[in-house]
C-alpha cells in the first residue's frame, strides 16, 4: 500500500463540504485541514467537521505540509492561489474553471511544469454516472458513428436577478453568471466532439452587459458540437444530446436519466405510439432506480465529484497522472475567452429595440 496523500482544502464554501464528504471515503487520502481568509466561515467549517483550520495558504503549506490542495474559491482567485501552491511544491486540483482567461491558464500550467507538480480541474460532470453511461454507449459504438453533440446549460431561477451586493459572486465575473457555468457544457462538448478546429458564437447581453443567451457551434475533431447557454430560460435544465448514425441519446443531467432512441421498422400508426411508450418506460425505470439509489445512499448529490476524486486519487497515489489534463482546462478557458471576444458587440435588448 502506498503512503496516504495529505490533502488540504482552500475555501470553505458549499462545494468544500461536498469535497470533504467524498475525500473522507478515500483510503489513499488524509484530509489535513481547511483554510479560508474569512475567519467566521473557516471556524464554522472547522466546528462542523472537526478539521484543523489555517488562516492562509502559506500557513496551510507550512504547518499542514499538504501533498495536494483543492482550490474551492471563486474563479478570479484560482490562478493566483494555484501558482502560489504549485511554487510551494503542492499539487493542485482547481474547481472549474481553471482560470479566468487564457493568459492566466497558461501561467498556471507553466508554473506546474517548472515545479514538477500536477494541476487538474474539477470537470466533475464528465464523471456523473449518466454521462459515463453515455460515454460507454459511444465507446462501444452503440450509437454508430457520432455525428453531433448538443449541450444545454441553464441557470437556477433568480441567480441573475438579485441586485448589487446581494448577488452571487459569479455575477461579477467577466460576462457574469455564465462565466461560472460555461465550463460544464464546454468540457462535455470537448470530451464527446473532440478539440474544436473552429468555433462560432452569437449572444445577447443584459443592459448591464451580462451574457444572458449564448449559442455556440463548434467543428470538433470527432463530431460537430452545439452549445446553448441560457441564463433566463425556465425551468432550469442541463441536457446533453448525442446524435449517432445508429441511435441517439438524450441525457438529463439534473434528473440523472438517459433516453436512447433507435430507428425501428414499424407500421406508421404503431410508429407514432411505440417510441413514446419506449421513452416513458425508460424514464420510469431510471427514475425508480434513482429513487432507490438515493434512498439506500448509493447515489448522492454531485456524484461526479465523488467519482472524479476517486479516479484522481487512484491514479496519483500510484504516481500516475490526473484524469483531467490541464490542457483540457486550458481549452475550456480559451473557448470562454472566444465567447467573450465574439460576443463583445452582442446586442442588448435596448439595442434590439432601437
Amino acid at each position: 500500500m502506498t503512503a496516504r496523500l495529505r490533502v488540504g482544502l482552500v475555501g470553505c464554501g458549499r462545494i468544500a463540504r461536498v469535497h470533504r464528504v467524498y475525500l473522507q471515503e478515500l483510503s489513499s487520502v488524509e484530509l489535513i485541514g481547511v483554510c479560508d481568509t474569512d475567519a467566521a466561515a473557516r471556524a464554522a467549517f472547522a466546528r462542523e467537521t472537526g478539521l484543523p483550520e489555517f488562516a492562509s495558504v502559506s500557513e496551510l503549506v507550512e504547518r499542514g505540509k499538504p501533498d495536494v490542495a483543492h482550490i474551492l474559491t471563486p474563479p478570479h482567485t484560482h490562478a493566483s492561489l494555484a501558482m502560489e501552491l504549485l511554487k510551494a511544491g503542492v499539487n493542485v486540483l482547481v474547481e472549474k474553471p481553471l482560470a479566468l482567461d487564457l493568459g492566466e491558464a497558461e501561467q498556471v500550467i507553466a508554473t506546474a511544469r517548472r515545479a514538477g507538480r500536477w494541476v487538474t480541474v474539477d470537470h466533475n460532470r464528465w464523471f456523473d454516472p449518466v454521462i459515463q453511461d453515455a460515454a460507454r454507449a459511444v465507446e462501444y459504438a452503440r450509437l454508430g458513428r457520432l455525428v453531433g453533440v448538443e449541450v444545454f446549460q441553464g441557470a437556477e431561477p433568480g441567480e441573475s436577478e438579485k441586485p448589487g451586493d446581494q448577488a452571487h459572486w459569479s455575477t461579477r465575473l467577466p460576462g457574469g453568471l455564465l462565466a461560472n457555468l460555461a465550463s460544464h457544457p464546454l468540457y462535455l462538448m470537448r470530451r464527446f466532439a473532440g478539440p474544436a478546429r473552429d468555433l462560432r458564437v452569437i449572444a445577447r447581453r443584459s443592459p448591464s452587459g451580462q451574457l444572458e443567451e449564448v449559442r455556440l457551434i463548434a467543428d470538433g475533431e470527432r463530431a460537430l458540437g452545439a452549445v446553448t447557454m441560457s441564463m433566463r430560460a425556465q425551468p432550469f435544465m442541463n441536457r446533453l444530446t448525442l446524435l449517432g448514425t445508429a441511435a441517439s441519446l438524450e441525457v438529463n443531467l439534473n434528473n440523472m436519466t438517459l433516453i436512447e432512441r433507435r430507428p425501428r421498422r414499424l407500421p406508421k400508426l404503431v410508429g407514432k405510439v411505440w417510441p413514446n411508450l419506449s421513452e416513458a418506460a425508460q424514464l420510469s425505470t431510471s427514475t425508480v432506480r434513482n429513487v432507490i439509489a438515493f434512498a439506500t445512499g448509493k447515489q448522492r448529490f454531485y456524484p461526479g465529484i465523488g467519482r472524479h476524486l476517486a479516479a484522481l486519487y487512484a491514479s496519483v497515489s500510484q504516481g500516475g497522472e490526473p484524469p483531467v489534463s490541464a490542457a483540457e482546462g486550458r481549452d475550456v478557458v480559451a473557448w470562454y475567452d472566444e465567447i467573450l471576444t465574439q460576443s463583445a458587440a452582442a446586442a442588448t435588448p435596448a439595442k434590439l429595440a432601437g
Binding site: A141, G320, E321
Partner: protein
C-alpha cells in the same frame, strides 16, 4: 529526413508501425526474419541476438522502434532470455552509442501487478514479480521492461510503450481471457463485469510514433489501452460484428475457485502438481483499470479507430495465426 529502425518488422505490430511511419514521411529500415517481406525503404534480415547486425542496423538512425521479440508459448528459457532480454539491453546500448535520439521499446501490460480485483494501475504501479508461476514469454517481457527502465533511469533517451491485448487484421481479438467452445456454446471464464483491456494494432502504432516524436516522452513509460471492454457487452458486440451464432455461458466462478483449491490440495497430497495453478486462474479473473491519462495528456493520444471499426477490420481480414498474440510461430528471430 528522419530515419527509423523498426525491429520485429515482419511480426504483427511491426508492419503497422512501418506503414504509419512511412505515411508520416519517415524513412524506415526494417529488421526482419530471413525470407520475410517488408514494405520498408530498406530491409535487413537476421536474428536479434546478432550484435554485429544490430550495430549495423542502428547506425545512422534517428529513432529505433524495438518491436521485435520471441512470442511463443513453447521453448526454453534461454531462448526467451537471449532474444527478449539481452537483445533489448544490446539494442539500447548500441543505439545510445550510435547517437540515436529515441528508442521506443514495446513492452506489455503483463508487466503490471494487479493486486486486487477492480484495481487501478498506472505506469508507476508495481511490477508483477510473481515469477515462477508465469510463462517464459511474460517473464522475459518483464525482464526486458526492467532493462529498458534501468536505461531510462540512467538517462538514455528511451520510451516504453505497454500495450493492452493486441489485436487487428491477422490476429483476431480475444473473446475473453479464457474461452472454451462447446458446440453452440462459448464458456467464458470471466465475470460479466470483467474488463478486457483491448488495444487495436493501429491505435498502438499511433502511440508508438507519437512517443518517438514527443520530447516529453523521453524517459517515460505509457500504458496504451483503447477500451476496457466489459465482458458481457463486448461478447455481444463480438458476436454481432463477427457474424457468429454461439451463446455465451458464464460459469459460476466461486464454485470453480473452490473446486480448483480442493484439486490443488488433493494433488499436493498425492505429490503432484496441476497443469494450471490457482494463482494463474486468480490472475486472469482479476480485472483492473489500466489508466492511459499519461498518453492522452502528454502525447495527445486517443484511439483513432473505434472498437466497432477495429473489430470489423479484424474479422474481415484473413487470419495469419489461429489465436491471439501468444501463438506467433516460435522463432527466436527478429
Amino acid at each position: 529526413m528522419t530515419t527509423a529502425l523498426v525491429t520485429g518488422a515482419s511480426g504483427f505490430l511491426g508492419p503497422r508501425i512501418v506503414a504509419r511511419l512511412r505515411a508520416d514521411g519517415v524513412r524506415v529500415r526494417a529488421l526482419v526474419r530471413p525470407g520475410r517481406p517488408s514494405d520498408a525503404d530498406e530491409r535487413l534480415e537476421g536474428d536479434l541476438r546478432d550484435e554485429a547486425l544490430l550495430a549495423r542496423a542502428v547506425a545512422g538512425c534517428d529513432w529505433v522502434i524495438h518491436a521485435g521479440a520471441r512470442v511463443s508459448t513453447t521453448g526454453a528459457w534461454d531462448e526467451f532470455e537471449s532474444t527478449n532480454v539481452q537483445a533489448t539491453e544490446a539494442i539500447i546500448r548500441l543505439a545510445v552509442a550510435a547517437g540515436v535520439r529515441r528508442v521506443v521499446h514495446i513492452s506489455s501490460l503483463s508487466v503490471y501487478a494487479v493486486p486486487a480485483d477492480g484495481a487501478t494501475v498506472t505506469e508507476e504501479s508495481a511490477y508483477d514479480d510473481s515469477g515462477e508461476e508465469r510463462g517464459f514469454y511474460a517473464r522475459s517481457k518483464l525482464a526486458a521492461d526492467k532493462v529498458a527502465r534501468a536505461a531510462m533511469q540512467a538517462g538514455a533517451p528511451v520510451t516504453i510503450i505497454r500495450p493492452g491485448l493486441l489485436y487487428g487484421p491477422g490476429h483476431k481479438p480475444p473473446l475473453a481471457r479464457r474461452a472454451v467452445g462447446l458446440g453452440p456454446l462459448r464458456v467464458l471464464f470471466a465475470s460479466r463485469h470483467y474488463l478486457l483491456p483491448l488495444a487495436y494494432v493501429d491505435n498502438v502504432a499511433d502511440a508508438v510514433v507519437l512517443a518517438a516524436q514527443h520530447d516529453a516522452a523521453r524517459g517515460r513509460a505509457y500504458t496504451i489501452v483503447d477500451v476496457h471492454a466489459r465482458q458481457a457487452e463486448y461478447a455481444r458486440l463480438y458476436r454481432q460484428i463477427g457474424g457468429q451464432r454461439w451463446l455465451p455461458v458464464y460459469p459460476p466462478l466461486g464454485l470453480l475457485r473452490l473446486g480448483l483449491g480442493a484439486a490443488e490440495r488433493a494433488a499436493g497430497l498425492a505429490g503432484r502438481t496441476l497443469p494450471i495453478t490457482r494463482h494463474q486462474v486468480e490472475r486472469t479473473l482479476r480485472s483492473a483499470t489500466f489508466v492511459t491519462f499519461r498518453a492522452q495528456n502528454e502525447l495527445g493520444w486517443s484511439p483513432r479507430v473505434p472498437i466497432d471499426e477495429a473489430l470489423r477490420r479484424s474479422f474481415a481480414a484473413p487470419e495469419n495465426t489461429p489465436h491471439a498474440a501468444a501463438t506467433e510461430p516460435a522463432q527466436s528471430l527478429a
